[in-house]
Amino acid sequence: MLWLDGLVQGVLLGGLYAQYALGMALMFGVMKIINVTHGDLVILLALVGISLAGSFPLGPWGVLVLLVPIGAAVGWLLQRGVLNRVVGDDPLPSLIATFGLSVALQNAILEIWSADTRSLSGGGIEQASVALGPIFVGVLPLIVLACATLLTGGLDAMLRFTRFGRALRAASSDVEAAAMTGVNPKAVYAMATAIAVGILGFAATFQAMRATVAPADGPYQLIYAFEAVIIGGLGSIWGAFVGAMVLGVSQAIGFRISPGFGILAGHLVFLAVLAIRPNGIMGRAQ
């Protein structure tokens, strides 16, 4: 029972990690950009959402509807203004650039919103649950998981079956060859980052509803997003989803062994996956 509950809660936790991992899967997995500001963008969006909810009668879903396009706009600007200059095979420039941006962003957020911890009221949904026998399944985590699944499916389908998706995969495989085939890589990349950060609008709304956000919180979920994408295998969207599940379940099981061991358990599973399958669970072998 204990373990079954652990498994269920782990999968739900995985849903949260998937929210973070999806944008990362697109940027890190497909476009090979290390975006250290990933977590800070979530915080930025969440705080924007909370401020909006404080000024207008929006409700959490109204916030979500606004945050996604705002995120997309931020992503587009980020790619156009910064990241398009640092994409390439060498991970260092994107790491350095976004690392600097991350420090600046965190402190700018602190200046604007102060250090207060805030959250977004979900109107009770964050506490609701359904009981499946002895196991309680939270409604919000369920919504998060469902959203994550839909987003994963949607993103994966977009990459696979749309003109834009093919152009993006082409550009990430070989920028120059894509340009030779009529694709405008910079525009495609800007669009992709817009989508990635737009997805963070979901992560931001849910994070602000289920827990809290504060200016310095950005980096804390970052490592899980990286881990999920790497566990899953670079370039695979469903892989990132599975990676998030693996991480969620490892942590949940770990928490049940000892609360102090959960996060460690997630890291150890990550390292084990690296040792056994360096290309990730769903990554193509070289």
Binding site: R210, Y220, F255
Partner: protein, 403 residues
């Protein structure tokens, strides 16, 4: 030329203040900034002391919520700026590294804003008192007894589930010998500690299911706002409905309660200070209400508990300097500090009567957050069993959970 003749200055006293201005502990630092401005204004750069009139220079440093940084700026203030008094203003992560530097390099140091045990035991001050570092704050034992006092007010099955993070605060609060488990058991409560958790855990279902199994009516311990919010939301989801949640740290700030939404109503914790405190400032003559009103008027935000201590640390520091034989001599300042006997905004401070030679304890109460009028939630004092200095504002009521 304007005929303002100032008394001859006998020199410049330098005071160093370290506070977490940025980073995760920044909420603790906000009131320090505010208070410093008011103190500066009041002093106008001069301090009249027993030894004469001095210029006073206050150097403020940002500890960035980072212990390494705190030690670095402390060393810089002590060794390069040659301050005559060091004031690490709040939080264990800021105080301990700074106080260690002060101790090694022989600089008087007065701190507050962390349970005294957390600033003494991890630094090895157990059997070996410190020569230079003094701390005034309430003690863990008192906080713990306050918790127990709160719980005694409720009709419960006397079973307490406990939450502690894996850090200096958590290790102190959760210590089996001198932490919360000890007095709780002594008072006849049963306890369950499922193990310490990492701060920023995203899933508390393991602890919740342990508490449910244990049938806990009460949750106690120390957590931070984000962890508490996750915990409370998940508890509601999992059908775990304790009658009281009493935790330290997370419930300090109004923003933290607001983050809990409706469930914030009825959360209880220890009370450092509220505008209801009756004591007067030795520095400005204000009562607590005045200080809180000044803050709210200035910032447009609700008062927070560290505000009283932000103020009090200046009372203690300036009082010591005023009484010092030679404010430009560290040893003299230390002696004056050691001899402190002062009634401050947070209560009396006197290091000779403390539980440890370097400590003076201040009163602590039990409080509960309830729906307020001016602000969404207000902190009311509901228990004075440890320090019966004044009457509680109201009685503790059990938590209500949405069905």
């Amino acid at each position: 030329a304007p005929a303002v003749v100032r008394a001859q200055s006998a020199g410049t006293i330098k005071v160093g203040l370290i506070t977490p201005k940025t980073g995760p502990l920044a909420p603790f630092g906000e009131t320090d900034d505010f208070t410093l401005e008011r103190v500066r204004e009041r002093l106008g750069g001069r301090l009249e002391t027993q030894a004469g009139v001095y210029d006073i220079e206050i150097l403020m440093r940002d500890g960035q919520s980072d212990p390494n940084r705190s030690a670095e700026v402390a060393a810089d203030l002590i060794l390069n700026e040659e301050v005559h008094l060091l004031m690490p203003a709040s939080t264990t992560d800021t105080i301990n590294p700074a106080a260690d530097q002060a101790e090694l390099f022989g600089c008087p140091c007065v701190s507050t804003g962390a349970p005294w045990q957390a600033t003494v035991f991890p630094r090895g001050g157990d059997g070996q008192p410190f020569n230079w570092t003094y701390h005034f704050f309430w003690g863990l034992d008192e906080a713990l007894n306050t918790f127990v006092g709160l719980w005694e007010q409720l009709e419960t099955n006397r079973k307490v589930g406990m939450l502690f993070p894996q850090n200096a605060d958590g290790e102190t609060w959760g210590n089996r010998n001198y932490g919360l488990p000890a007095p709780t058991k002594e008072a006849g409560f049963e306890i369950n500690v499922p193990g310490f958790f990492q701060p920023r855990t995203n899933d508390f279902s393991a602890q919740i299911s342990a508490f449910k199994q244990f049938d806990a009516d009460i949750v106690g311990g120390i957590t931070y706002v984000d962890d508490l919010t996750t915990f409370v939301n998940q508890s509601a989801q999992q059908g775990f409905h304790p009658k009281a949640i009493t935790v330290a740290a997370a419930l300090l700030f109004p923003s933290g309660i607001e983050a809990l939404g409706k469930l914030g109503d009825g959360m209880s914790s220890e009370v450092w200070w509220t505008p209801a405190f009756p004591f007067k400032s030795s520095l400005t003559g204000e009562v607590s209400r005045d200080v809180a009103d000044a803050w709210e008027a200035e910032t447009g935000r609700q008062w927070t508990q560290p505000l009283g201590y932000s103020h009090a640390i200046w009372e203690v520091a300036l009082d010591a300097l005023k009484r010092s034989q030679d404010p430009l001599d560290r040893a003299a300042n230390r002696d004056a500090l050691k001899a402190t006997d002062l009634s401050t905004l947070v209560g009396p401070v006197n290091f000779s009567s403390g539980p440890h030679p370097n400590v003076s304890t201040t009163p602590i109460f039990g409080g509960q957050w309830v729906k307020g009028e001016k602000w969404p939630f207000e902190l009311k004092i509901v228990d004075n069993s440890v320090n019966p200095l004044f009457e509680p504002e109201q009685r503790l009521k059990p938590l209500t959970w949405p069905s």
